[in-house]
């Protein structure tokens, strides 16, 4: 089973739109499955017209624990407060109080408490599930509950889920979150190929370089798609010469097209919305296939 990750660093440059259409293109000749690893803002399934009520499964998930203090056992020694590196404990009314957002569930407080007054307790921090896209393949997806932490671990669960729902899949297509932190690192590790989507702006370029460092850290083969390349052709050329110098494939250049927004609003992958994109995504598929096999 091979896997491809789509990432960009910067948000809103077209990761999900490209991932959705690429999945449709690949599904014609391989058994594929999608994994939406943007668990902060899970959007990929929306491009297949799927809201969570259309999911085959959508259930609470616990990948996190938080500290709970037993006030009958606590002697108020404050050792836990001194130990907490995340400043998630506060001494209030003679008892340590666990803050709503700060607790990482590391367990240091539990270990240091002389009276065993602190226990870690599982909490549901996300929903996870899967759906049939209606395009001949399935998608796994999760949504972190607002204000919860542990997105990296939830990402691992989404990747695991994709393999569970389609054990015979030949290819997994993964859509990453914006950024380069914990959830993106968890998404990138273990892939066979990375597609870096970039728009020709100083921000898009700078963020792509940071995403590239993550890809290189894991020594993953990669290529670049320049999206909306014609909004600044000079900058596009700069990116192309960077890619050439660094020996990175430019997979394709996609012009700015308002149809992307229209397709998104109608919740249809652009490849099915506008005929011209069939050829474009076929081409992208061919190029990536060459590198993959």
């Amino acid at each position: 089973m091979k896997s491809i990750i789509i990432l960009s660093g910067k948000g809103g440059v077209g990761k999900s739109s490209i991932a959705a259409s690429l999945a449709v293109a690949f599904s014609k000749d391989r058994k594929i499955v999608c994994a939406d690893c943007d668990v902060d803002a899970s959007n990929l399934s929306l491009l297949f017209s799927l809201s969570t009520d259309k999911y085959k499964e959508w259930a609470p998930l616990s990948t996190n624990q938080i500290a709970v203090v037993d006030k009958n056992k606590c002697i108020g020694c404050k050792k836990c407060i001194d130990e907490c590196y995340f400043k998630a404990l506060e001494f209030k009314d003679n008892i340590p109080k666990v803050s709503e957002f700060g607790c990482e569930g590391c367990g240091a407080c539990e270990l240091v408490c002389p009276k065993k007054a602190i226990k870690l307790k599982d909490i549901d921090n996300a929903y996870i599930g899967y759906a049939d896209t209606g395009y001949g393949f399935k998608i796994s997806s999760a949504q972190l509950l607002p204000g919860n932490s542990g997105s990296g671990k939830v990402v691992f669960e989404v990747k695991k889920k994709a393999r569970e729902i389609e054990p015979k899949a030949e290819l997994i297509i993964i859509d990453a979150a914006a950024g380069i932190g914990c959830p993106v690192i968890a998404s990138v590790t273990g892939n066979d190929y990375a597609v870096l989507v970039i728009e020709p702006t100083p921000s898009g370029y700078s963020d792509m370089l940071r995403a590239l460092e993550i890809v290189d850290h894991f020594k993953i083969n990669k290529g670049i798609i320049i999206n909306k390349y014609d909004i600044n052709k000079k900058f596009s050329e700069k990116i192309e010469s960077f890619a050439k110098k660094s020996n990175i494939d430019i997979i394709t250049k996609i012009p700015f097209d308002i149809s992307f927004v229209k397709a998104m609003t109608e919740m249809i992958p652009i490849i099915k919305y506008k005929k011209a994109y069939e050829k474009l995504f076929e081409g992208i598929k061919e190029k990536i296939s060459d590198r993959l096999d």
Binding site: F101, G147, C182, P200
Partner: protein
Amino acid sequence: MKIIGITGGKGGTGKSTVATALAFELSKDHKVLLVDADVDCPNDHLLLSIKRKQIKTVRQRIPYFDTGKCTKRGVCGKVCRTNAIVSIKGSNPIFMENQCNGCGACRIVCPSGAIRWESKGIGRIFSGKRDSLDFLSGELKTSQPISEFIVDHLNEETEKVRQNYDYIIIDTAAGTHCPVIAALENADKIIAVTEPTPLGAHDLEIILQLLERMKKKGSIIINRSDIGDKNLIVSLANKYGKKIIFEIKFSKDVITSYSKGEPILIPDICSIIK
């Protein structure tokens, strides 16, 4: 003094465009500090062509294993919940520095006092200026997982100078998890920038739920309001009792300025803080 957080959930909806345009315009008549708290992918300095100067290295503690003292009992790895330590009875622990969040559980359980603290650099804090606008920015070192540590340090630096300003504008990362929450912690008022697409609406709803949990005041800006389906956002605003305070029409000029690193002018943008 007012602290305004600019967020939105979905990436690329125009958070940085709004934050930089607002801060730049406001700074003509007020003392303003712009804080770029998107430490994964900081871009505000690019949008305003600010040359940043590093003022601080952010370090995080990590354990150092004294192999002379280690009795190879294999207990430290058992308590490490980030899987940064692999310890097998009879051998020295193997430590994967990048995965460590510095929680200290290993040091508490070590029976032989073989673990002491060292530190690793995980990011940097910068300052800068554009005309009369002051600027702070944080940047996570690549391959380091914990963005919110950098945001915490950025908050500390902001706290030191906050009395000097009429307004502090904080630009957050995309998403809804830890670094976004940390960036919004001190905000008096939060503005969610969204776009009228099903994806924009979906992510906006999560941000609005987060604001409820954080008990923060918030309002909405619709960017590219003339493409897509505005009703998606209007119905969410009604559902959560939030006002749509501003709309920005789609414009190729904005994209062009953006792609050149020129400050973007959004007429009347300062009206959103009234």
